[in-house]
């Protein structure tokens, strides 16, 4: 279980990295924290001819307060996000979400940008990206462009990143005042990828739900929003029955979830509803407490 041979480059600037990507095209693969890529290399399931190790791009390791959003450099480790005081204060949902990723030993290496770029449909950060409409900055030969999360995840492990582009930062909108949040997932073991999960935010205004976001993961080829379920509660007075209905809607509106040994398609669909209901319930109680 050893990687096949590859050439290796460790560029010191984003420009150099992009130039290398341009040069090697489909033969190249970016290596960030390596927590998804290196297992695949070890199993020879990924066999790039060239590894472009972006680990030395230390200026992509930051968490910045940008007013109504936090901006996170792609190379920031999941652990840094989880432990950041700024994140704890300004975005507890973000901190809570990263804590669901695997275990500390993985998060110490795994990067925030890597998790988004890897686009595992059962992963937490991509779902958060979709939930919050994060803005994803990528840099290519033509310079930088910003991709909305909704347009970023194409299908299983596939994004709209071009072959010669590198993800450089992610803009994570903060929650507006009066907004409660929750992440709920069910996994076989603590720390495993989710069989199904839901991230919800819920904004209360004068006792009614003014805004709601529901993102589901582990239930399709990409993390998805559940717009019908969102509409079910927006404008309503939140209560248990409403959350149950929203859960049922969410469960019904997703397309055929991927089945695997841990959960049938039907079971995952069901779980998506349960997680939605639980997340809305918790988000609501957080919103009330605000």
């Amino acid at each position: 279980m050893k990687p096949a041979q590859f050439d290796y480059a460790d560029p010191r600037s984003v420009e150099d990295a992009v130039a290398l990507l341009q040069q090697h095209g489909a033969d190249a693969k970016i290596l960030a924290g390596g927590q998804s890529l290196v297992p695949l290399l070890n199993m020879r399931l990924a066999r790039p001819a060239v590894i472009i190790d972006v680990g030395k791009l230390r200026d992509l390791d930051y968490i910045r307060d940008d007013g109504d959003a936090l901006v996170i450099g792609a190379l920031t480790t999941q652990r840094s996000v989880e432990r950041s005081e700024l994140v704890a204060r300004e975005h507890p949902l973000l901190a809570a979400t990263t804590r669901y990723i695997a275990h500390p030993q993985i998060r110490n290496r795994g990067t925030f940008g890597g998790s988004i770029a890897h686009a595992d449909p059962a992963a937490e950060c991509p779902a958060l990206a979709v939930a919050l409409d994060m803005q994803i900055t990528v840099v290519g030969p033509g310079g930088a462009r910003v991709i909305a999360a909704a347009d970023f995840f194409v299908t299983y492990l596939t994004t709209s990143l071009e072959q010669d582009e590198i993800l450089t930062d992610v803009r994570v909108p903060k929650l507006t005042p009066g907004t409660g949040w929750s992440i709920q997932e069910v996994a076989r073991r603590h720390g495993d990828f989710a069989m199904a999960g839901a991230i919800c935010t819920l904004t209360l205004e004068r006792g009614r739900c003014a805004a709601a976001r529901i993102a589901l993961f582990g239930v399709g080829a990409v993390p998805v929003r559940a717009p019908e379920a969102e509409q079910t509660i927006i404008g309503q007075e939140p209560n248990a029955a409403l959350f149950e209905e929203a859960g049922a809607r969410a469960s019904a509106e997703i397309s055929e979830p991927l089945a695997d040994i841990h959960g049938s398609s039907e079971f995952r669909r069901h779980l998506a509803g349960v997680m939605t209901q639980r997340a809305l319930t918790e988000a609501f109680s957080r919103a009330e407490a605000r």
């Binding site: 290796y8 070890n42 199993m43 590894i51 695997a102 275990h103 500390p104 030993q105 993985i106």
Partner: protein, 169 residues
């Protein structure tokens, strides 16, 4: 053949340099090239935790890191825990509380515990579990490991008199 790369790193305070194929994993460098065989390999895909070491003070998997990624880093492995034949308090606690059976997983656990106790000298059980959820042990059922970590924390806080457990190491 792809070009080899020079890697310089410090392990347990000793500076090493080696010329490696880029595809070599860090654990293979440590064990195979540097002869530091205390770090073990159980899965090579990041799940079991037997290969956990400290990289710049943080517990990481050395099986899913390339050696070249550790260029310039400071590493610590189980060999760096005890000094002059004296077991580190964490090791003493594992011996005293039976935190091991076959001992194959132990180096990984010790390194993860080391990181935990650096940040958190008095962890609760939930915090211990969170820190060790990514370390698999097939022998102990973890109960004695929990005890060991509690005991290690107490020892490091200076609370346990040195001979509190039987057959003190």
């Amino acid at each position: 053949m792809t070009a080899k790369r020079d890697v310089s790193l410090t392990v347990n305070g000793v500076a090493y340099s080696a010329s490696v194929e880029p595809r070599m994993t860090l654990v293979d460098l440590l064990r195979g090239e540097l002869g530091l065989t205390g770090t073990h390999v159980g899965c090579e895909h990041g799940v079991c935790g037997a290969c956990t070491i400290l990289l710049n003070g943080q517990a990481v998997r050395s099986c899913i890191m390339l050696a070249v990624q550790a260029d310039g880093a400071e590493l610590m492995t189980v060999e760096g825990l005890s000094e002059d034949g004296q077991l580190h308090p964490i090791q003493q606690a594992f011996v005293g509380q039976r935190g091991l059976q076959c001992g194959f997983c132990t180096p990984g656990f010790l390194m993860s515990v080391y990181e935990l106790l650096q940040h958190n000298p008095a962890p609760g059980d939930d915090e211990i579990k969170e820190a060790l959820g990514g370390e698999l042990c097939r022998c102990t059922g973890y109960q004695s490991i929990l005890r060991s970590v509690r005991d290690a924390a107490a020892r490091l806080r200076g609370e346990v008199p040195a001979a509190a457990t039987e057959g003190e190491a």
